[in-house]
Symmetry: C2
Subunit: 345 residues, 2 copies
């Protein structure tokens, strides 16, 4: 009776084989369903597995098989409400198909992202899902030569091993601004996101197109740059207010920006939507709980996450996966109203 202390001795496949009186190949076959095995040995092995509480060593398995059933997921910020939804979708779909995500954060920094991508490769992931980011497209193209890549939220020339999924940012922004115009607004401010960020650029384009189609001249004093975070929205809105330009509505480039803008408005006693209407983009879970609930563009973030994982699964099966740009839907809540009493400033 050896009841040893210390780290319990590891139960290996070989030990199970010995206990069940079969070869290790047989055990392996049973565990993986790789081939038919006599019912008798099957039972013997299963019993041994139970008895020793055997768990295959994933490392060894992967080293031998060349597959890890692990998908690298390069996010930008593990704690962001937006990326969180993507991650959740990816994780749910991945685990449902027996795969696991391996998350890494790039912090919107091309160098970090590249380092993380190398790291994922060193860990032998079967594929990589990339969420936004600034890493060099050429690098990504070369990278996709080694493992398939699914890119979320960044349009790149697709290839058989590099597929892009996203939403129609231009259309969403166009719908927002058109809606605002229909409510009677003509002086519509816009707080954009990072420069060079494709989502931000496309939303600005949609904004301009809607204005143009309504015959409203573009006025760049109505544009402020944010950073896709609350802080940027706050500051941008303050600048807008300080500048003394008049406007009756604000289109924030994403919901987080709108949250910040909303605080700035509150601080200046500008009522929403009575004095100014406010619209965001994304429809984060928290937007339902803004005071008042935020009118925004619903982007099916979670679902896109699932689609990404599914696209990866198909890529891995060797199927062709087309680029997809999804339409997006305006959700009217309570931060928008027909142009009314007093305009800001």
């Amino acid at each position: 009776m050896k009841k040893s202390f210390g780290p319990p001795e590891t139960v290996t496949l070989a030990k199970i084989a010995r206990a069940a009186g079969v070869s290790s190949s047989t055990v392996s076959r049973i565990l993986n369903g790789t081939a038919r095995v006599s019912a008798e040995k099957q039972r013997a092995v299963e019993e041994a597995v139970q008895r020793y509480n055997y768990r295959p060593n994933v490392l060894a398995r992967s080293l031998a098989s060349g597959r890890t059933d692990t998908i690298g997921v390069l996010t930008q910020d593990i704690a962001s409400p937006f990326y969180g939804e993507w991650l959740r979708g990816i994780e749910d779909e991945l685990t449902q198909t027996g795969r696991s995500p391996l998350f890494a954060s790039g912090h919107w920094n091309a160098a970090d992202e590249q380092r993380q991508l190398e790291n994922l490769l060193a860990r032998c992931v079967d594929g990589v899902i990339v969420l936004h980011g600034f890493v060099d497209p050429d690098y990504l193209r070369a990278y996709s030569e080694r493992v398939p890549v699914v890119m979320l939220g960044r349009p790149l020339d697709p290839s058989p091993r590099l597929v892009c999924l996203g939403v129609d940012n231009r259309q969403g922004a166009y719908d927002v601004v058109t809606h605002l115009i229909e409510l009677g607004h003509r002086r519509i401010a816009h707080i954009s996101g990072h420069a060079l960020q494709p989502d931000s650029e496309q939303r600005l384009i949609g904004y301009r197109e809607a204005l143009a189609d309504a015959g409203i001249p573009y006025d760049d004093t109505l544009i402020e740059r944010g950073n896709f975070e609350e802080s940027g929205g706050l500051v941008a809105m303050e600048r807008l207010l300080d500048a003394g330009v008049s406007f009756s509505a604000v289109f924030a480039s994403n919901d987080q920006t709108a949250y910040g803008a909303r605080l700035a408005l509150y601080r200046r006693h500008v009522r929403v939507p009575d004095d100014v209407s406010l619209v965001g983009f994304d429809d984060l879970p928290g937007s339902l709980y803004l005071t008042p609930p935020l009118t925004t563009v619903r982007q099916p973030i979670y679902e896109i996450g699932r689609m990404a994982a599914d696209a990866m699964a198909r890529l891995l099966r060797g199927e062709a996966v087309p680029t997809q740009i999804m339409r997006v839907e305006l959700i009217e809540r309570e931060t928008t109203a027909r142009i009314g009493t007093g305009a800001a400033s």
Copy 2:
């Protein structure tokens, strides 16, 4: 296993050794700094590594060495603003010490959590950090026999391989309620979290103690149960309002609950803080952007995440790590005021 054509042939340690004209052990030594090597061979190897852009296969390395430098992190919800902060802290500290996190979600479900923990073990993580959850303490104790465990936000009997970190929930809640009482409030409602959730229970205890110390009788019609999420706060607050009980302040068991409560109040045209004061717990990043900014208890979530990773590092070094319960600080913002004009209902 024959290497087929297609994806670039893998660069192995052996290839580098050959290219540099040394043995593979020498390459290994150089890469790991395991032993002194002649400067000449050092250079030759480094050059070959560069030239072939060699990356060690982490799987093989781990299989051989028995270490993975990977720490399993069992979270409950990858997309939660609260867990997000913990994860960010853990990730930052872990990567700074050359380790990587491996995230898995338990969804507040003991069975899921246990499955995930087994999975992490099969992946040979060097240790595990557990965030809340309901998995059986006895199971965890046995688990910690195999790899060290750091537990966040759940008080368990510590052991040399199982350390707990947390905050003083009771004290935080006590401070909240005492502050409210100092502002003149005597009818203070409370929206709790999940039953059996230790944080929630401790906060309720703190609430009761503060009341008792001020000679205010406990009234259970002022207590509603939430679920630590916005939805629960909304519903609980509606019930409170519908019940017609009078109160001038609400202590929500966490910030998300407060967000929900705040929306219910808005819907009923109850002004915050003019008509009722509202306090949360956690100080999530978003609480600064509530309208108005939320008075709450600051819990250094991110820092605790870092501490957890640090505690794990020390555990791995064989050091003893004490249980730590941190004090917590009330942050007065703008949802609380001296009891004023009209009380709700």
